[in-house]
Structures are given as structure tokens and as C-alpha cells.
């Protein structure tokens, strides 16, 4: 078997020091293979975003190892593309400027840059909006730009931190299909954090349920069936069963977290 794309071993995370310290993550072991779409779901405050920030290299684990393709993660870098719920885009750059940003930092020549930007504008269906500023776009369009900006850097793994959490239900459904489409096309490795069980099941080929704080991995469930787009899950009994099973698992944790 090939080495995993991302490998977390005995990763723990504590915020603060001494008696005031808060344990956010308690010993996480997780290996993610290439081309896998992994969703992480859990009660709020379970440390699922923290886990993503650790992989991103924005935070340092208190102990344990995180390796991407066998190299330890020591800080943020363009090999891991990240889409946040908000603030992924620079408000002072146009859509084009935002998508080109990472390429400029990499020193990609201008002609090549323009070609990649055009390609990614088409990919997220934003042709004609390249000269708009983020504030002129709807939340859904902003997240499309964030996705295009991240993909343009050709990361080894795509990290998504509740990227559709601030969107309305209709926009969210459409963007979920887009993300599935892009993932199928590029078969990128994706690590996707959400608190929405339905989203976790509809997107993830592999669903990780986390426990209440301090977060640990409660169970890892593979989804061994698939459909063309998210709508078709509605009438799928296997989907309904899996969603219910995962919701019960999460609900247990939500109730456990209540004092």
C-alpha cells in the first residue's frame, strides 16, 4: 500500500499553560490517502477547526507529528490550500488579482499566470466577474473565488474550514455540487470540516466523527456508494441510513458536552 498523503500521529493540542490550559485535541491519529475526500464532523467546540489549522501549519501541536507526503509540517505553505468560512479573499484585490495572488508569490510568469487565472475563472463559473472587488460579490460568489484562488496554487491537499457555513441553504447546495465536480475532475485530496451532518455525508467519501472536547476521533466511516449529484441522495435509502447513523453518533457527543 502506498504511503498516505497526510499522516497525523498522536497529535495533541492544548491552549494556554498551567492550570488554565484547555485541552482542545487529545491524541489524534489519522492517515488520509491520496484522492480521498475526508469530511470531519463533530459538536461545536470539539476542535475540528483546530485540527485543520494544525494541518495548515498556522498552529503548532503541543505534541505529536503531522506529515504531508512524508515531510513534517512546520508552517503554512502553498502545498496546502485553505478556504476559510470568511476572510480568505483580500478585499483590495480584484477577483483576478485574488486568483493570481498565489501564482505571483510563486513567481509564475505573467502569460502563464493569465492562462491559469482564466482556466480557474471558468472552473468556478465566474467569467465576466474578473474585475470585480470582493465586496461587490455575494457570499456564494466570494467562496467560489476563494476556491479558485486556492486551486490555482495547485496544492497537494485542499483544506476547507466550514466554507459554506455562512451561506444560505440554496447556495450551499449548489456549491456542494461544484466542489464534488472539481474533486472528481482533479481527484484532489480534500480535508473538509463541517458541523452539518448532511453535508459531511454528501461530500465525504470518508467521514470522521469527532468526540466532544477534548476532541478525539470517535469513528471513521467510509461511504461506499455514490451518485452523480447531491440531489440524488435525497431519495437514496442508504444515504438516509448513513446520515441518521452519523447524526446519532454526533448527537451523543453534543449531549455529552452539555453540563
Amino acid at each position: 500500500m502506498a504511503d498516505p498523503c497526510l499522516d497525523l500521529r498522536a497529535v495533541t493540542m492544548r491552549y494556554g499553560e498551567g492550570p488554565d490550559a484547555v485541552a482542545a485535541l487529545a491524541s489524534i491519529d489519522l492517515a488520509i490517502d491520496d484522492h480521498e475526500f475526508v469530511t470531519i464532523v463533530g459538536p461545536s467546540g470539539c476542535g475540528k477547526s483546530t485540527l485543520l489549522y494544525l494541518v495548515g501549519g498556522f498552529l503548532r501541536p503541543t505534541s505529536g507529528r503531522i506529515e504531508l507526503r512524508g515531510r513534517p509540517v512546520t508552517g503554512p505553505g502553498p502545498d496546502r490550500g485553505i478556504v476559510f468560512q470568511r476572510y480568505s479573499l483580500f478585499p483590495w484585490l480584484t477577483v483576478r488579482g485574488n486568483i493570481a495572488y498565489g501564482l505571483e508569490e510563486k513567481g509564475v510568469p505573467r502569460a502563464e499566470r493569465d492562462r491559469i487565472v482564466e482556466e480557474h475563472l471558468r472552473l468556478v463559473h465566474l467569467e465576466g466577474f474578473e474585475n470585480r472587488y470582493p465586496r461587490e460579490l455575494s457570499g456564494g460568489m466570494q467562496q467560489r473565488v476563494a476556491l479558485a484562488q486556492t486551486l490555482a496554487c495547485q496544492p497537494d491537499i485542499l483544506l476547507m474550514d466550514e466554507p459554506f457555513g455562512a451561506l444560505d441553504a440554496q447556495t450551499r447546495r449548489i456549491l456542494q455540487d461544484e466542489v464534488r465536480r472539481i474533486w472528481r475532475r482533479d481527484t484532489k485530496t480534500v480535508l473538509f470540516v463541517t458541523h452539518d451532518v448532511e453535508e459531511a455525508v454528501a461530500l465525504g467519501t470518508c467521514i470522521v466523527v469527532m468526540s466532544a472536547r477534548p476532541g478525539r476521533i470517535k469513528e471513521v466511516i467510509a461511504r461506499d456508494f455514490d451518485v452523480a449529484d447531491v440531489d440524488e441522495f435525497e431519495a437514496n435509502p442508504a444515504f438516509a441510513a448513513l446520515r441518521l447513523r452519523i447524526w446519532r453518533s454526533v448527537k451523543q457527543e453534543v449531549e455529552a458536552a452539555r453540563p
Partner: protein, 258 residues
């Protein structure tokens, strides 16, 4: 003219109407004798006086003198204030060292420094420029510091995740993200510069618009005095508008409050 431009000008004209009404009421009160000339000359007389001053060119050297003083102090303050504010936001030691000094000079009404600086630096332009610079420095430093310190961490993370080095982050992220606040601080500094300028020219000067207002007021030439006041107000207003228009052009990405 596009319909958007037309509605903009219509809106601007509607806003000028109350001002025109006040001026008309002033003129009517003067002409009917309700408002004696000894209390307030009529608007027509003030306007005529302003016209005469502009035609004769009498006001030009005073305008230039005032501009030079305010501009020099303001320029030094903006350049120094932005550098100092960024340094404070980036280097903990600088913040801790400068902050108490800033707190110390913050509550001082800056024109009150004029007499002291006149003792130190003489009654010439140098003391005036120094006080104007000091007065303008405070809002620029505070705005720059708040802007640079308040940059959303997610933006910094986004930049790092896209391969921006720590050294480039200052130019690529911190400075553009802080720009709206810096711009607001600079706008305050324009108003501050004019207030300190006029105060200092009232206290001691042989040239400048403040001096002109004061000396006309001293000899009871109220129409000429008011003419300079209105001229100064219009200049200040124009500067502010020009600055805002420049900002809108430069920062099309930012949603300005007004």
C-alpha cells in the same frame, strides 16, 4: 451624462439648497435693515470684498504662506506617523516604548504648545511647523497602529498559505489591509492641521490667512474678515473633498461610509 451622474448632481444641488436659503435670509435681513451693518455686513458686501481680494491678488501670498506651514507640518507627520504606527504594530518593544509617550501628549490641546515652542524655536515658521507636525502625528500614528494591529488574522493566514514570506506580508497584506484606517487618520490630520495653523497665526504671524482674519478683525473691517473666513472654509472643504475623491479612486475596493 449618464442617469447615475445626473442623479448625483441633482442630489448635490438639493443639498446646497438649505445653504442657499440661509445665505438668502442673511442678505434679506441685511437689506431690510433688520440686521445692522455694525453687527454683520450683508452677504453681498462680504462676497464683494472676497472678489476684490481675489482680483487684486492680495490674498495669494497669505494663502501660500499658510499652505507652506500646514503642508510642511502635515507632510512630516503623515510620513513619520505611518512609519511609527507600523513599527509599533510590528515590534512589541516599540509599542511599549511609544505608547506611554503617546498617552502623555494625547490629552494636550496641541495649540497650547505654541507658546512653548515659540520660546524654544523662535516666533518664525519653524515653531509653527513643528507644532502642526506634532498635532497631526497623533491621529496618524494611532490610526496606523490600530489598522496594522487589527488586520484579521485569517487574512495573514491566507497569505501565508499562499506562500507569502513573513517579510513580504508587511507590503502584501498588512499595509493594504490597514490603508482604510490610515486614510481616516490622515483625514483627521488635515482638519487638525488647519485648526493649529489658524491658532498659531492668530497668536503670532505677519503673513497667512489666520493673520489676515485677525488683523481685519482688529481694525473692524468685518466684511473683509468674513471674506477670508469663508475663503479659508472653502479651501478646507475643497481639500477634504479632493482627498476623499482621491481615496475613492485609489481604494475602489473599499466600501466608504459616505
Amino acid at each position: 451624462m449618464s442617469s447615475r451622474a445626473r442623479s448625483y448632481w441633482a442630489g448635490a444641488l438639493a443639498r446646497l439648497l438649505p445653504l442657499a436659503l440661509v445665505l438668502a435670509a442673511w442678505q434679506a435681513a441685511s437689506m431690510s435693515g433688520l440686521l445692522p451693518k455694525a453687527v454683520l455686513p450683508s452677504f453681498g458686501e462680504v462676497a464683494a470684498s472676497l472678489g476684490a481680494m481675489l482680483r487684486s491678488g492680495e490674498i495669494v501670498p497669505h494663502t501660500l504662506a499658510s499652505f507652506a506651514r500646514a503642508g510642511a507640518g502635515f507632510g512630516v507627520a503623515v510620513a513619520g506617523g505611518i512609519v511609527l504606527g507600523i513599527l509599533m504594530a510590528q515590534v512589541r518593544f516599540v509599542e511599549r516604548a511609544v505608547e506611554p509617550v503617546l498617552l502623555l501628549i494625547y490629552p494636550v490641546p496641541k495649540p497650547a504648545l505654541i507658546p512653548l515652542f515659540m520660546i524654544w524655536l523662535g516666533i518664525g515658521d519653524f515653531s509653527k511647523v513643528t507644532v502642526i507636525a506634532l498635532a497631526c502625528l497623533v491621529p496618524v500614528v494611532i490610526a496606523t497602529f490600530n489598522g496594522a494591529r487589527g488586520v484579521d488574522e485569517m487574512l495573514l493566514w491566507s497569505a501565508r498559505a499562499r506562500g507569502t514570506s513573513e517579510r513580504r506580508i508587511l507590503w502584501r497584506v498588512v499595509l493594504p489591509a490597514a490603508l482604510p484606517q490610515i486614510a481616516a487618520g490622515v483625514r483627521t490630520a488635515i482638519a487638525v492641521a488647519i485648526i493649529v495653523l489658524v491658532s498659531s497665526e492668530f497668536i503670532s504671524a505677519e503673513t497667512g490667512l489666520g493673520y489676515l482674519i485677525f488683523s481685519y478683525g482688529g481694525v473692524g473691517a468685518d466684511d473683509a474678515m468674513l471674506a477670508v473666513v469663508i475663503y479659508l472654509a472653502a479651501l478646507g472643504y475643497l481639500l477634504d473633498r479632493l482627498y476623499l475623491a482621491g481615496l475613492r479612486r485609489l481604494m475602489a475596493w473599499h466600501a466608504f461610509a459616505h
